[in-house]
Structure formats: structure tokens, C-alpha cells
């Protein structure tokens, strides 16, 4: 497949066949990760900047390992240790980064739309590693890859439940787009205060009762609860949240046999998920971490070896081609 995208900003820009192609590549790269020498030279000479304005050790490490296993040179720009910190004009950051001539930039930013902002101004590939509440496409791809390893690529007939703070979750937004594209039914379960505006127009079923939501599902994704949501007045206290929306063994009895449990991490054990469930046999949480490295290897490979990168005239001003914002969620009133 000729990879047609300059940037990865949002799952909505990917066709289903392209998602499956990423899985296919990830499957091949996953094998490298089990070898005694876990390094291949296919991205030798390529440079990848990891620009994490909002800190995230987990995702950054995953990208770092992915790049190094393919022999790319990876450079971390910690936002706090340079002039490229929160508060500096992002456009100036973009120009500075451009001058370093990277082949790809992996961006984590606390503001929704930041990756699109940089993608419009940089000629290198921009890979969104999470922007505000908006999107976290690589997390969705690794979630999808983890489940496709268990279920196969065709997810029609499967039901995936996402529980927790949907409103402020870039993971939830990207997961909904991805699982819907793969044919799965998606359910959301959260208190009303943690549901985003307009969610009733999304192609999902919405629940406020976790026990009901779990009935007949094949996978449950628990989202991390940001503890400051309580201070923002969105919930009364953590104890009540854990009691009402924390996933427990009792809930899973209502799910389909073989139900899988996932969490994007890092977990608040005992808040959004019962501690024992995270370690149980049907937990995919550690598989997700391995899948993350393989998926990001696949993505770096696809974006850094796209043939037409320089000859298509896809300059810094060229908007990410075919990035139709969120068509699958678009429904007329």
C-alpha cells in the first residue's frame, strides 16, 4: 500500500483498509520485538523528534523504543528544559523545529488542535501523540491492534464498552472512531457530567449504569480518571466514583464469556478498575503496552518511508490530505 498521508492527526483521516494495513505492519514488527537482537536498519539515517509539551513518560518511551528498534535517531525535546515550553508561541516552536530538519515530529500537547496547528506549518510528518481532549490516534490503533490479535480484524458482532471520563478523553474519541470503523458496536458509560456535548449524535449507545452497560459486551476499556475532575465539580468524590463507575468482577459476570479488559494507563487501581481485575487472565493491559511499541514501529515505518513525501509538493502549507474531520461521527440533526 502506498501510504498517502503526511501526518497522523486523527483516526477520522484513515480509511478502514489503512487501519488494517497498520495492524498488518504491526504484526510483522511485533516479531522483531521478540528477537534476541531487537534492531533492524530500515529507518537508519531518519530523525524523529519527540516533542512532549505535556509530559508523558509512557507514550514517549514507547515511541522512543519503536524508533530505535528501526534504527531511527530519536531526539527528545522536553518542554520544560528548553525554550520550547508551554507559554512559548507554538508557531515559533514550529519554526525552530522545522529548522532542525526532522523527518517526523511526534507531538504531545495539552491543547486540542495543537498537532493540526503544527502539521500545517511543518514539512515533516507530524504524528499526534495526544492533543488536549481531542485525539490520541496511536493509542486507538494500539487498542485496535490488541483486540484484533484476539478477535481478528473483522469486529462486526463485537461490542466494546468504554467506561469513565469520556468528555475529557482523547482516547475515547479516537477509540470510538476506530472501533466503529472496524464494525464493532461501541457503548459509552459515564456520569452525565463526564459525557461530551453532542454525544447523543455519535454512533454509540450511552449508559449511566455500569452493570447494564456491561451486559453482553466483549471488551471493556476503563479510562483513567483525572483526579482534578472532582475539584472541577464534575463528581462528588473518588469513593463514590469508584463505587458507581469502577469496574469490578461483578460487572464482568454480565459480559460475554471471554470478555477482555483494557486500560490505556496509567491506572488508578481501585478507582476506575478493581486492582485484581487489572492483573487477571483476561486483562490485555500489558499486551496493550507491547502492542504500542509494535504499532508505533509500523506507523514510523509508514510515515518515514512514504515515497511521495518530497515529490508530491506537499509543502509545509499543505494541509493533511483527506483529513476530513470526523466523518463517521457526523450525522445530520
Amino acid at each position: 500500500m502506498l501510504w498517502p498521508h503526511k501526518d497522523l492527526l486523527c483516526i477520522s483521516q484513515l480509511k478502514t483498509a489503512e487501519i488494517l494495513h497498520v495492524f498488518e505492519m504491526a504484526r510483522r514488527f511485533a516479531e522483531i520485538n521478540t528477537r534476541p537482537v531487537k534492531k533492524v536498519p530500515i529507518l537508519k539515517g531518519k530523525s524523529v523528534i519527540l516533542f512532549f509539551v505535556e509530559p508523558s513518560t509512557r507514550t514517549k518511551t514507547s515511541f522512543d523504543i519503536a524508533g530505535k528498534r528501526l534504527s531511527a535517531d530519536t531526539y527528545s525535546l522536553a518542554a520544560s528544559s528548553s525554550s520550547l515550553r508551554k507559554g512559548e508561541n507554538l508557531k515559533d516552536s514550529a519554526l525552530t523545529l522545522q529548522a532542525m530538519h526532522p523527518d517526523a515530529l511526534v507531538l504531545r500537547h495539552q491543547q486540542s488542535g495543537a498537532s493540526e496547528f503544527l502539521a500545517q506549518r511543518l514539512s515533516c510528518s507530524v504524528i499526534n501523540a495526544g492533543d488536549g481532549w481531542h485525539a490520541h490516534p496511536t493509542q486507538a490503533l494500539l487498542d485496535g491492534f490488541s483486540l484484533s490479535e484476539a478477535w481478528g480484524d473483522d469486529m462486526s458482532g463485537k461490542t466494546v464498552l468504554i467506561v469513565g471520563d469520556i468528555a475529557h478523553s482523547r482516547v475515547a474519541r479516537s477509540d470510538v472512531l476506530l472501533f466503529t470503523a472496524l464494525g464493532a458496536q461501541v457503548r459509552l458509560c459515564a456520569p452525565r457530567t463526564l459525557l461530551p456535548a453532542g454525544v447523543r449524535q455519535w454512533p454509540v449507545e450511552i449508559f449511566s449504569n455500569l452493570a447494564e452497560a456491561c451486559r453482553g459486551v466483549d471488551a471493556v476499556i476503563c479510562l483513567r480518571l483525572q483526579l482534578e475532575r472532582q475539584k472541577a465539580g464534575l463528581l462528588p468524590d473518588l469513593r463514590e466514583y469508584a463505587r458507581t463507575y469502577g469496574l469490578g468482577a461483578g460487572h464482568l459476570n454480565r459480559a460475554n464469556p471471554g470478555v477482555l479488559v483494557m486500560h490505556p494507563g496509567p491506572m488508578n487501581r481501585g478507582v476506575e478498575i478493581d486492582a485484581a481485575l487489572a492483573d487477571a487472565e483476561n486483562s490485555l493491559i500489558l499486551d496493550q503496552v507491547s502492542a504500542g511499541v509494535a504499532t508505533r514501529m509500523a506507523l514510523l515505518f509508514l510515515f518515514l518511508t512514504r515515497k511521495d513525501a518530497s515529490d508530491s509538493g506537499d509543502g509545509p502549507s499543505g494541509r493533511s490530505e483527506s483529513h476530513q474531520p470526523h466523518p463517521p461521527l457526523l450525522q445530520e440533526d
Binding site: 507554538l90 491543547q111 488542535g113 456535548a197 453532542g198 449524535q201 474531520p325
Partner: protein, 427 residues
Amino acid sequence: MPGPDLIVRNVRWQDELVSLWISQGVVQRLASPDEPSADGEQLHGEGMLLLPGLIDAHVHLREPGFEYKEDIASGLEAAARGGFSTVLAMANTKPVNDTAAVTALMRDRATRAHPYGPRLHPVGALTKGLAGQELAPLVELAEAGCVAFSNDGMPVANPDLFRRAMEYASDMGLVVIDHCEDPFLAEGTSMNEGRVSGLLGLKGQPVVAESMQVARDILLAEYLGLPIHLAHISCRQSVELIRWAKDRGVQVTAETCPHYLLWTEELLRGYNTLAKVNPPLRTNEDVLALRQAVREGVIDMLATDHAPHAAHEKEVPMDEAPNGISGLDTALSLSWSLVREGVLSLQDLITRWTVGPATRFSLPVNRFLPGDPADFILFNPDLEWTVTPESLHSKGKNTPCLGQTLPGRVVTHGIAGKVLFHNASAA
């Protein structure tokens, strides 16, 4: 009777070709196009549309304090080119216009930069520093030339203080303009709360942030028996409340802006900071309700809420971008597009841009009756122009219209009988 000083010949007024005879700054009469006169300078109108000079009751000219965004000279230049003979300038300058000295400075800058107009009428701050804690010296401000009071941009949360402000202003016969926004519901928001904010992962401002304050203001106005003017109304629910209040005889007037009649939250997709305004662009349903309200006069006037910003300020992620659209240059073309689409009549357009604000703020207005101020524009409705940064006279190039082709342009602008410019090549 003295002869005319100026005759604007061959212009279209209410489907007739006429000549406008002007004497000593006021309209002498409308005459037949070829009626001869020995006196008077002659200006050939080439069949252009004759309109009264427009009044914009809501602009931000940024001087003093933010001259890099706009200054009074550039703001009034944009007003003149846009067809506005009179503008009311809001108080959120630096320092805030909460003393006579600032009011005087603004008026002085205006007459120095543009001795023949457009006229600038300052709007005084309602509270000191716009902080919403203590009343500003409203008498002093009125004496210095403020024509209304407003905390625009920094809505007053405290209803008791707001009540006292309305009462105190009424002693001078001046009206309070409220930017209706509940600060708690609006905190930290960068667009309308709805489908698009949910998809983009942005914190949205619900329509009730506006309509709750509209309701508060209406109830206070009724209780006190005092007038209130509601700025830049953006949503259906507010319109319904205003209609209800008017039916009850409450002295409420309201304005909306061209952008709320034309665009929706959909424009924010792709994180388009040029479309970030406060109140935010809403939904199609709101647009339709506002259009109807303007037609019916439930919304009394149009205003630009001209809010210029420097390019680098808008070239940031959505959350960081300041609110506002630079509106003076494009307002008439945008509202003319509504006339072309049959949404508004020509008469609606004229009334909402002239009589509406003139009545509310006790300003003179040109109805082309003898003795009216000879503020007029000649408008070429067929001339199309493409909005580029260079085509805008405001320093603020922040408009979602950039790159668009708009209909209609002001060819000539006269204020009190003085021709500010006559662009014969555009006629």
C-alpha cells in the same frame, strides 16, 4: 433659502433616481436628478445606491493601550470605508475608559485623525477598571462625552451591582449595554458547546451562559422600569426571551452582528481561530432565529462588535486565541449578502444600521428629510471584492472572510456634507 453647497446627482433612493441637495452640512432636500442649480459642487453618483451613513453601536478601537491591534485613526478609517458615519467605542482599553481623561483622549484622537468624521462616541465603563466591583464615575463620564455605559467583555456577575448601575445611569438618561454572559458557565470556553466542541475536544460555552443573563437583565429592567440594551445576541433562546419581554412592554433593545446571521459553529472545525468570537458562533437553528428576529425588529439593530487583533495573536491553538472578528470593513457587504439572498429587505438593512441605534442612543440620523445630518454613502451593490489583508483598512486582519468574495462596496462617503472619499473608478 441659500443654494446647495453640494449636489449628489443621479443616485438611487427607494427605487427612484434622485439628486441629494446638501446645504451647510444638512440635507436640503431630495430633488429630481436633473433639476438644475446654479450653486453647489456637483458629484456624479452614477446611479449608485444612496444610503444614510451607518451607525455602529459596538466597536473596539483598542486605543489607548493596544495600538498594535488598532488605533483610533485606523479604526475610524475602516469605519469610513465600511460606510459607518458614527461608531460607539467600548471601554476595554488600557487604561480602561473609566475616567473623563480617557474619554477626552479618545474624542481628541478621533477629531485630530479624522476631523470630518466618522464620529466616535465613547462608551464608558460601568465599573471601575471593568472589575465588576465598584461603580465607575458615570456622571463624570457622561459629562466628558460618553453616550452609554458597559462592562462589555467583562460581564458584571453581581446582580445587585448591576441593578445599581442601571439606576444610577438612568439619572443621566443614559442606557446600560450588557454583554450577557454568566461568567461561571462561560469560564474557560473557546466555542459554542455542542456537537462540534464535543468532536474537537474543546470546552464549550452553553447557550444558557448568554440567555440566563438576558433573562436576568430583562427581569431587572421590568422591575426597575428602566431600559436595558443587550449586546451581540447570539442564540434562539435569547431571542425568545427578548420577544417575550417586548410583548410585556419591557424597555429592552438588542443588537446582533453579521457573523451571527451568517455563520455557525461548523466554522470552528479545523481549529479556525479566526472564527473564535465571544459569544461564540452557534448553530443553524440559532442563525435562523436571529434572522427572523432582525426582520421582525425583535433585534433592533445590527452592530459589528469590531474586535481587531494582531495576526500573531490568532496564530495559536484555539484555547489561547483571543476572541473577536475584525468587522468594520466587511459588515455592510456581509449584511448586503443577506439582502441579496432575500433574508432581509433593503429597508430592514437600513433601519437596523441607522434608526435602530440612533433611537436607542439618542443620536441624530439621516432619513433624507430636510435638516437631517447629511451623512450618506453611495453603495455599488454589484461590485464584488475579494477580502485580503491588504483590502482591509483596519489593522485587524482577523476575519473568517479572508479569501472570500463579498458583494457590494462603498464608493463614496459623506459626513455632514463633507465628502470623505469618492472612488469614481469603483462606481
